[in-house]
């Protein structure tokens, strides 16, 4: 079993707290992304798990064993680096074989494992070449093959796709998912790219300023962000936040009255996904002033304001709204997230 338990890890660089008591459990065989903007501490956390960085306090366990004092090589994990870190002075074969050679595996096993990993990543034709002759995507495959060849209990990936161009990134993303699913390796994947995290992960841990803001299934995080930060970071366009007045435990959205959670003040923040709306006649719908209408082909992107606060919404491509129009919107009440204006934290979903 390779459950990973990250237990109250803290890390300070001088006065700067890079990680403030991060706890997270990753189940055996699971693919978990650490997602967040640069400087949120995600890479530091990964490096602490790898043993390349020491934590200020806290524990990391794999299975039941604390690994915090162990050397990186004794932790039973493998890692894929952002810049690949494929050794330029070794052939692709020797690169993939590197971990096995360090384990003093016999030649037959090395050969078998290298061929298996190379097969998974489709790099058999390049085994005799030097990495310099390979493209970025091929080098990344070599790096992944090198990691998988040692059959690690845990695979750590640090922004592995961010050096690739957009098209290649999409292709590698799909392929990574296929390969890792079949390998069944517990994977921790660091990225700042939310589409990557959404597409690949079983669960996502969204990090911000050294804390985990939310852990959950990609769809759950997307629909019900725990904090304003998460809602704003995930999704394109990001979630809209509209501060609205509360009267008698209700918020007026055009002709409709929306129930809000108990015990809120006289204002609340309405978190709204851009696509959780449909066009409605005024005054039944809530009023939106459209500043710019951008037909995107697959959909229509509208930028404007509701209650004088900036919003972005998405309508079907078939709707005909022009820049400068004033329109009415009906909100999908099941997909509304209510957030506290003070703390920025969301309230548990209310039944309508």
């Amino acid at each position: 079993m390779a459950d990973i338990v990250i237990d109250r890890i803290r890390k300070s660089f001088g006065a700067f707290q890079a990680l403030k008591e991060v706890s997270l459990t990753i189940n055996d065989g699971e693919f978990v992304s650490l997602l967040g903007p640069s400087g949120c501490g995600k890479t530091t956390l990964l490096r602490i798990i790898a043993g390349l960085e020491t934590s200020t306090s806290g524990d990391v366990r794999i299975g039941d064993r604390s690994i915090i004092g162990l050397a990186p090589k004794d932790r039973g994990l493998a890692m894929v680096f952002q810049n690949y870190a494929v050794f330029p002075h070794m052939t692709v074969y020797e690169n993939v074989a590197f971990g096995l050679r360090m384990q003093k595996a016999d030649d037959a096993r090395v050969k078998a494992q290298v061929e298996k990993a190379a097969g998974l990543l489709h790099i058999e034709p390049y085994l005799d070449r030097y990495p310099n002759k390979l493209s970025g995507g091929q080098r990344q495959r070599v790096a992944v093959a090198r990691a998988l060849a040692v059959e690690p209990k845990v695979l750590l990936m640090d922004e592995p796709l961010s050096n690739l161009d957009a098209l290649l990134r999409l292709e590698m993303r799909t392929e990574l998912k296929t390969v890792l699913q079949s390998a069944g390796t517990t994977t921790i994947y660091v990225t700042h790219d939310q589409t990557e995290a959404m597409g690949l992960s079983d669960r996502i841990a969204v990090m911000h300023n050294g804390v985990v803001e939310q852990v959950g299934h990609p769809v759950e995080i997307y629909n019900h962000p725990a904090t304003r930060f998460v809602g704003g970071f995930i999704g394109n366009p990001p979630m809209n936040f509209i501060k609205v007045p509360v009267s008698n435990g209700q918020v007026a959205a055009g002709a409709e009255q929306l129930a809000v959670p108990d015990d809120v003040g006289n204002e609340i923040v309405l978190g709204l996904r851009g696509e959780a709306v449909e066009l409605a006649p005024l005054p039944q719908g809530i009023e939106m002033k459209v500043r710019v209408a951008e037909p995107m082909g697959s959909h229509l992107l509208l930028t404007g304001s509701i209650h004088d606060q900036p919003v972005r919404v998405i309508l079907p491509a078939s709707e005909t709204v022009k820049s400068g129009d004033t329109i009415g919107l009906k909100l999908d009440r099941r997909r509304i997230t209510w957030l506290s204006p003070e703390s920025g934290k969301s309230f548990p979903a209310v039944s309508a």
Binding site: A50, G51, L52, A71, P72, K73, L77, A78, M79, F81, Q82, N83, A85, F87, P88, H89, F98, G99, M102, Q103, Y130, N132, K133, R146, V150
Partner: protein
């Protein structure tokens, strides 16, 4: 721009080419002619005079011995220094600055510094005396103590000439992204394996430059030796100097000069061959 006037690059290069041709190639040809001629006719008389001189064999042996001892030690120390300083965060620049101080000292001055330490009334004897190790002044630099003299010269040369090797090696080490070492560490390589299998191959170009530079300079060793040993420890350049100035025989001095050049070229070729840098295998 330059497509229309293809002669411009050549024009810009011309002064440096002319300068080198005038002040390097011409004297080189003259020296070779001086070495290999006698009274205006080609002759090996000067070479014969050189090899039959009683100091010739000693100077060749001394120079090679010094090079063989000094250069590997310098490379090893420079590697150790480079590896150590790469682990240092704060104060790294200051440490490098202090380490490179010997670079700014002329070799004669360096020789005199070590002379003031090692001469009979020098600091080293004072220290030994105050510790009670010796009862009276000991002599380290005389012809009666060839081993001590050799060690003294080697130490002075190592002290003086390691900085340049260190600079080149540190530059080389800086070129190696830390992820290579981290990847090696994760996949199970210990410190020694990382050094031998990852770091050393990756700094091969720097190592090659440092070896060539240091070896060529080691064959040209003179001022430090002269300051510490005088003619008690003959070396090739020292002999060239003596034939030129004491004996006023420019032709034999020229043969020495040519010999040193041939040895340096041979050493360079050997390094280029032995440490072949394949651009395909660089980061």
């Amino acid at each position: 721009m330059t497509q229309n006037r293809p002669w411009i690059p050549y024009l810009l290069i011309l002064p440096s080419v002319a300068f080198l041709a005038l002040l390097f190639v011409v004297p080189l040809v003259q020296t070779i002619w001086l070495a290999l001629s006698d009274n205006g006719a080609p002759s090996l008389a000067n070479a014969e005079r050189m090899v039959t001189d009683i100091n010739f064999t000693r100077s060749v042996r001394n120079t090679f011995l010094l090079t063989i001892v000094v250069v590997p030690v310098q490379i090893a120390i420079a590697l150790a220094m480079g590896a150590m300083v790469s682990k240092v965060g704060r104060g790294r620049e200051t440490i490098l600055w202090i380490w490179t101080i010997p670079l700014g000292i002329s070799d004669l001055a360096a020789g005199l510094v070590w002379l003031s330490i090692l001469q009979n009334t020098g600091y080293f004897n004072s220290l030994l005396f105050s510790l009670g190790v010796i009862g009276r002044q000991a002599s380290w630099l005389s012809y009666q103590t060839p081993v001590a003299l050799f060690i003294a010269i080697a130490v002075a040369e190592i002290w003086r000439g390691t900085a340049i090797v260190m600079v080149i090696i540190v530059a080389g080490l800086n070129q190696v992204p830390k992820e290579f070492k981290e990847a090696a560490e994760i996949f199970g390589a210990g410190p020694w394996t990382r050094f031998w299998r990852i770091t050393l191959p990756l700094i091969r170009p720097a190592l090659q430059s440092a070896l060539i530079l240091r070896t060529v300079l080691a064959f040209e060793v003179f001022a430090v030796v002269y300051a510490l040993g005088g003619r008690n420890f003959p070396v090739l350049v020292g002999e060239a100097y003596n034939w030129q100035n004491q004996n006023q025989n420019y032709s034999v001095a020229a043969v020495y000069a040519v010999l040193i050049m041939i040895i340096s070229l041979a050493a360079t070729l050997i390094y280029l061959k032995a440490l072949k840098v394949d651009p395909e295998r660089l980061p």
